[in-house]
């Protein structure tokens, strides 16, 4: 794929990142191939010919209305000019569309590659919706920059050229055009008060209706059971009259603006015709010249559209700036190291020591928005151990989980897996060793089977699904493992189980479970816990948890408090500390559920 190169298992944006928005636009121009050149030539030629055409037509009229005239050169010139305009138009449309498409494609692929290379840090810096806008419509607008520039020029040529042409035909015509433009503008402003579009009320009514619908849909099962669809429809549609009233108000504003637009050009043309008529009566102008003058007046009135295009160029620049900001975000640099092979793999291991999956934090400090959230964490997790990470919310548990598998990098210190700093591992080695499950997993892939496997074998995916207690419910879905994730009706707990299965299929040495069983009911949580202590016991498990039962099952508990490790040891030992017990009080079943859900 062009634009994104894969080197050493690492996605990088191609080429150096330009320093400025204009630099990026220049690259866009180069990447658009020959289309901008084609567009420039055809659009400008078209513009010039369009400028010549009224004159030629006027001349032809003058020649041809003379008695006994034959349609000769004058007509031929007109025909050639018309043909040129048409051909230029057609080619220009093709060039503008194709060039813009090519540029937007290049820019988008580049942004996509870069965002993926930047990893989760990118979404920490840019809100998701904003990022989609930057990669989507901003890339499109920036890609259209060459077109906008050329179109503006191509529109300015006939607009200004017409003024000159009017002046050349007769200076009085140019005067009439300019004065007419000013007078019409003043008169219109006096008659039509400036009305600012009041679209706020319309949008407000619209979102009221949407909110009501979403509210009602959240109660779909209740409504179905109670048979109250009609009642609910009435309640949801209550804002319709308000929507209609605001909508009509907007139309009235539009209609005013429409009057203005409809009247300026014809009145200008009549003004020019009037003055031209007097000059014709005085014998200074021919009928053909009068026709040409009228056409030039219309062309000249297009100056507003030309300025509008310059405005678009400004938008393209600011779009390029926004794309540029994304491209400037640093990509995650992976190393080339592999993990050492597990000693005596396959044989019975000792509890600690030689087993693979030893995780070590060395003086790790991580900052979010400049504030340290994890401070100076030193920690050794023996290979194959189950470690619970507990602490009040905001104590840095999730960040610790993120740093453990390099979803975030520490600002100070380092994290090692089996003695190798994570930053030196190749991407493939790192991701084969570490698996992540989240509270709200996002599933990708066209089927649930793919969403679990993500590159692993189907068999591994099935086994992982069984361990995560996801297999029974997946097999009951309309198309079982072939059901698309978007189309699978899944509860929060079911989604969590698919996420767990994905983690189990991936983390060969280390499983990081970040609050990944919070939505499971007690029966299912028990099944997953059993898998974690039985089938998956050869892997190191780092489990961020709220429940005391989870901590009690772990070999070791890491107790975080305001970003520091406050205690580390077996649950029963830590339980002696009232401060430790207090951690679980907010998470007790009743109150915790009331607050959290």
């Amino acid at each position: 794929m062009s634009g994104t190169r894969t080197r050493g298992g690492q996605v990088t944006g191609s080429g150096p990142s330009p320093q400025t928005a204009d630099g990026l636009l220049l690259q866009v121009l180069r990447r658009s191939g020959r289309w901008p050149a084609v567009y420039a030539v055809t659009a400008l030629t078209g513009a010039v010919v369009e400028l010549l055409l009224p004159g030629a037509l006027g001349h032809a009229v003058d020649v041809l209305v003379k008695p006994g005239a034959e349609p000769g050169n004058a007509l031929l010139v007109c025909a050639v000019l018309v043909a040129t305009v048409v051909v230029c138009d057609a080619v220009a449309v093709l060039a503008a569309g194709s060039g813009g498409a090519q540029a937007a494609r290049w820019l988008r692929r580049r942004v996509v590659g870069h965002v993926l290379a930047g990893g989760p840090a990118v979404s920490r810096r840019f809100p998701p919706g904003d990022l989609v806008t930057r990669a989507g419509s901003n890339a499109e607008e920036a890609g259209a920059a060459p077109e906008a520039l050329i179109t503006a020029m191509a529109l300015l040529v006939p607009a200004f050229g017409s003024l000159i042409a009017l002046a050349l035909i007769d200076p009085w015509l140019a005067v009439a055009f300019s004065v007419g433009l000013a007078v019409i503008a003043v008169v219109l402003r006096a008659f039509l008060r400036e009305t600012t579009a009041v679209s706020g009320g319309y949008q407000e009514a619209q979102s009221d209706l949407a909110t009501r619908l979403i509210d009602a849909l959240s109660g779909a099962r209740t409504i179905a059971a109670a048979g109250t669809e009609e009642l609910e429809a009435g309640r949801v549609l209550a804002p319709l009259p308000r929507l209609r009233a605001h909508g009509m108000a907007l139309w009235r504003v539009n209609a005013r603006a429409g009057v203005q637009a409809a009247i300026v050009v014809p009145l200008l043309e009549i003004a020019v015709l009037g003055v031209g008529g007097f000059r014709l009566a005085a014998g200074e102008l021919t009928a053909g010249q009068l026709f040409a003058a009228a056409r030039y007046a219309v062309l000249g009135a297009g100056i507003g559209a030309a300025l509008g295009y310059l405005n678009r160029l400004g938008r393209a620049r600011s779009a390029a700036r926004r794309v540029q900001e994304v491209l400037h975000h640093p990509a995650v640099a992976y190393g080339t190291h592999e993990l050492p092979a597990p000693d005596g793999s396959g044989g019975p291991h000792e509890r600690t020591g030689g087993r693979a999956g030893r995780l070590e934090f060395r003086a790790v400090t991580v900052c979010v928005d400049g504030q340290p959230v994890l401070r100076d964490v030193d920690l050794v997790v023996p290979g194959g151990a189950a470690v619970a990470v507990v602490g009040r919310s905001g104590s840095g548990k999730s960040l610790l989980a993120a740093v453990a598998g390099r979803l975030a990098d520490p600002d100070l210190g380092e994290v090692l897996l089996d003695g190798v700093p994570l930053s030196r591992l190749s991407r493939a080695a790192l991701r084969a060793a570490v698996g992540y499950a989240f509270e709200r997993p996002v599933l990708f892939g066209s089927t649930l089977g793919e969403a679990i496997a993500v590159g692993r074998s189907e068999r591994a995916a099935r086994a992982a699904a069984v361990a995560a207690a996801a297999d029974p419910f997946i097999r009951k879905l309309p198309r079982a493992y072939d059901t698309a994730p978007d189309e699978a009706p899944m509860s929060g707990g079911e989604r969590q189980r698919v996420g767990l299965a994905r983690a189990f299929a991936h983390g060969g040495r280390l499983l990081v479970l970040d609050d990944a069983t919070s939505s499971l009911d007690t029966v299912t949580e028990y099944q997953v816990a059993r898998a974690l202590t039985e089938e998956l016991r050869d892997r190191t498990r780092l489990i961020v948890a709220h429940r005391a039962t989870t901590a009690a099952r772990a070999d070791l508990v890491v107790w975080l408090d305001e970003g520091r490790v406050r205690g580390c040891g077996p649950h029963e030992v830590l339980w002696q500390d009232p401060g430790y017990r207090a951690v679980f009080q907010v998470a007790e079943p009743g109150a915790g559920h009331l607050v959290r859900a």
Partner: protein, 583 residues
Amino acid sequence: MTAPPTGVGPEAGVREVLWRALRARPRHLARLLGWSFAEMAPSFLSGYAIAHALDDGFAARDPMTGLGWLLMLAGAWVAAAIGARQVLLSIAGIVEPFRDDLLTHIVTGALHGAATTGRGPDTAAVSRLNRQVELARDSFGAVIAVVRSFVFSVVGVVLGVLSLMGAALPLVLLPLVAGLALFLVSLPAMAVRQREAILAEERTASSLASMVEGLRDVAACGAEDGTAAVVGVAVDRQARATRGLARLTAVRTISLAVGGWLPILLVLAATPSLVRDGATAGVVLGTLTYVAQSLTPALGSLVQGVGVNGVRLMVALERILTTSAHRLPEPRERGAAPPGTLLRLRGVTFAYGPGADPVVDGLDLVVREGEHLAVVGPSGIGKSTMAALVAGLLRPAEGRVLIGGVPVEELDRAALCRTRVLIPQEAYVFRGTLGENLRYLADGASDADVEKAIDEVGMTALARRLGGCSAPVDPSELSSGERQLIALTRAYLSPARLVLLDEATCHLDPAAEARAEEAFARRDGTLIVIAHRLTSALRARRVLVMDGARAQAGTHDEMVDASPLYRDLMGRWDGAVTAAADS
């Protein structure tokens, strides 16, 4: 406002919806046509006035007469502008109700669809539908405007050219017809390309959105390359679609050239012969003005308007009609309620799809009137499906569900709703007063009944905090547990004597859960509780254990003996259960 018919193919549906939208507002349509004549005046008058201004005025050394003609033309333009305003408002009068109809269709469709499947479109889908509605409204307005303006411009030009010199008419009309035919021939291909471009753009946006949303998960799985490839495919497709569209648009300019420019050249070429037949310079100029000023722009907007907005309109409407197609609600006759609430399931089997394992397989169950049953099993095992089957929301593939001896599918909805009440896990509270929310299933409940229910279920403190039954409630300001309390009280008030609580207390603390369940147990009638916590099983008289392989029912002690899963759970969780019950 009636929803469009269902069961029709989207395209036929789309055409019918549009046609109906036009016919439904005859007054606005008449007004639209009336004012269109005013708007047409200049296109009829321009060439004529200019011809006379030249021939009778300026060229005849009588500039004041010429000026008079021009002023008349200016007046016509002003009248046309006023007409244009009225035309736009008439269009608004057609498309605003059209928008309302679409919204009504979407809302009822989404509600009925959600009621059928138990799930509706999510927030994003709702806002997408909203955008489609706006798109449909705007493009419908645009299409009406350009088609109408084209028709009237052509009529104006034809009349105008006839009034100047009839002989010139074929020179103008023939190329126009040819250009129009070319456009119409290219329209289907154009529509296909335009549709491809719209869909490709949407696909790119949605694949970008899911990439951004899943960035953390993509990194965690090391799936960067695969994701880049997937998004890349969408991006490439969009680029191809845009290029394809550009190519066809380029070809389309030819129809504009034929219809718009050729008449000018033809008139010029014919000028010597027209002059021989008595045409003046003014007449030639006037004819050219008609073409350049009215015909070419009108053809241009028609091509642009129909080629782009028309396709947008079709795509948006098809999208709206297919996403929100729904089964029409069954007629609401008031049939008799079944005698009693003895519940009997006979060999009930249900699967969500042909390739899926059955969720419920050959289930036999009898729940006697007044009994209290708890259903236990891992989530996703089919407990909620069983509740939906009992409630008559799903139809079993095999077997029967009988309430009071009557098969549920034979009960009409009203009778069914008076017989049983199902409260799902996700409690539904709407924006309204607390009283409206509580009386949702029991219209005529007295204040005393409501007070008693509030007290029994245990939401007295909540009712007080909210400010009593007349106080408005905002669901977004309530916790999940508080919403569940309201839904439970609502169910308590309903006349139904068969109560199905489908994890309806999962967000309550164990004490509140116990209180609510006990209130329902005391209430007259049958109670079936889908248990979220195992403590619910201890309170029930009988337990149904669903372990995926089979479903068995019995008392707690019987099930400890009969079901390994149940025994395992109770043994493993005995400590936790006791601890939770104590707190």
